[in-house]
């Protein structure tokens, strides 16, 4: 991600975050930070800076990060993005979203604690080395004659039937995979702005799935920060209007 970011970064060490729930937990449990006081844009930016410093774009990490941010958005989204229904937000009220999140975070935390137990165990046992030598060949005798008749052929047919069965469509968990990139969405916004001066958020992402909406939102935050765009939202739950920065200035002038 090219660009010069000279923002004051929030008091966050993103190195310590490994997953969305990690981030959420940390943000929420650290007394001094309320997630609603943390600008998503700043987190995105400081993250991108980090990527830049590493001089390599870890797409895997970037994807994870975006999903992570969409988790954050999950709380904000009910309030930030236009109304449920229009945006297919699964009809979650902010209260429901919060409750859902509490449940998920608690479940996650349980396994996080279990993984810490494993970590301690691992620190102690990781140096163990087991003998890797194979048994001596001298007495190794297994030949075809000794293969027992152990399975019925029907087992093979059963195994294949499982593979032949087309599964019922399960609704895709919106947090498991990112299929769009922030760069793609930036391009979509730029393309849309090429022919006019202003754009409603709905027009670029309104009919898209939730992850695409979230990522489009980050794309806009990024372009906003790069000075490429300006964004207006007149009231809570209101329309988000997007302008190309230059054009708006020109209009004003």
């Amino acid at each position: 991600m090219a660009g010069d970011w000279h923002l004051e970064l929030p008091d966050l060490d993103l190195e310590i975050f490994h997953g969305p729930f990690d981030l959420l937990l940390t943000l929420i449990l650290r007394e001094e930070i309320s997630i609603f006081e943390v600008s998503l844009a700043e987190i995105v930016i400081s993250y991108l800076e980090r990527l830049e410093q590493k001089e390599e774009l870890d797409l895997e990490a970037a994807s994870e990060f975006l999903i992570l941010m969409s988790s954050l958005l999950e709380i904000k989204s009910a309030q930030l993005l236009p109304r449920p229904g229009e945006f297919d937000l699964e009809e979650l009220t902010p209260e429901e979203a919060r409750e859902e999140l509490v449940i998920r975070l608690i479940t996650y935390k349980k396994f996080k604690d279990a993984s810490n137990w494993l970590r301690q165990r691992f620190d102690h046992t990781r140096h163990w080395c087991f003998r890797s030598a194979p048994p001596p060949r001298l007495v190794r005798t297994a030949g075809d004659e000794e293969v027992p008749h152990k399975y019925e052929p029907a087992r093979l047919a059963e195994a294949l039937k499982v593979l032949l069965a087309e599964p019922p469509r399960v609704s895709t968990d919106h947090m498991t995979r990112v299929t769009v990139s922030v760069w793609e969405r930036m391009k979509a916004v730029r393309d849309a702005l090429r022919t006019r001066a202003e754009l409603d958020f709905d027009e670029v992402a309104g009919s898209a799935d939730r992850v695409t909406q979230a990522i489009t939102f980050f794309a806009i935050l990024e372009m906003l920060n790069a000075g490429e765009l300006e964004v207006e939202q007149e009231k809570l739950f209101g329309q988000i209007m997007i302008y190309e920065a230059r054009k708006k200035i020109n209009d004003a002038a």
């Binding site: 490994h18 994807s63 999903i67 709380i75 509490v102 279990a114 163990w128 087991f130 030598a133 194979p134």
Partner: protein
């Protein structure tokens, strides 16, 4: 071994003091056989296999196993006894760790990221479990992490989910070896990590307060 009345199993060095009378020559020979089998086997050996191979069983076998365990109980020893993955095995001793690591040249190789550790914990406790289920708990896609764990041989496939057809995963004996677990039963009860009602309340409270601030404030 019949001609060595007081000799202990592995080293001829030095006679034994008379107080070790409970180790009869028979037990010594049995312990030696067990020791040799544990040494030769690339995998942990279960009590059943030891019984099959030595022809001994019950208390006698158990005592002989204990004799081997005792023999390798010195924390400064080169070789140590371990009970992992449902069997007994010998491993390198902790004291020799540095030399062993230099020899294996593997230290960096065997770090596990937090993501890997979390995923392992989830799979260990909830096995068999599918990738989407792991992803849901961690809140992040599990494909790469699970692929890495598969590569390292720490998890393996365990059939498919009946409805979705998604592959389910479970931990392997290699996982138990790496973490020095005699079996999955050795994992502490998950209830022990359960958040307290107070934790839950606190979390809910903080989210709630944050939301209120949000409603009265700005983005």
């Amino acid at each position: 071994m019949t001609d060595m009345p007081e000799e202990d199993t592995e080293t001829a060095a030095g006679g034994h003091p008379p107080e070790t009378e409970n180790r009869k020559p028979e037990t010594a020979a049995l312990a030696r056989d067990i020791e040799a089998v544990l040494f030769i086997s690339p995998e942990p050996v279960s009590l059943e296999v030891l019984a099959e191979v030595t022809g001994a069983g019950g208390e006698k076998l158990a005592h002989a196993v204990e004799a081997v365990r005792d023999k390798y109980s010195d924390p400064e020893g080169a070789i140590a006894f371990a009970e992992v993955a449902g069997g007994y095995t010998l491993r390198s001793g902790d004291a020799a760790r540095e030399a062993v690591e230099r020899f294996c040249a593997r230290p960096a190789d065997y770090t596990l990221s937090s993501a890997a550790m979390e995923t392992l914990a989830i799979i260990a406790y909830l096995q068999p479990i599918t990738r989407p289920e792991v992803a849901r708990i961690r809140g992040v896609g599990a494909d790469t992490v699970v692929a890495n764990l598969l590569d390292k041989g720490l998890v393996e496939e365990a059939g498919r989910h009946r409805q979705s057809g998604a592959v389910r995963y479970r931990t392997t004996p290699a996982f138990e070896k790496l973490f020095g677990l005699s079996g999955l039963a050795e994992l502490p009860a998950l209830d022990g990590f359960e958040a307290t009602a107070q934790d839950v309340e606190e979390l809910r409270e903080k989210l709630f307060t944050a939301a209120e601030k949000r409603n009265s404030g700005t983005l």
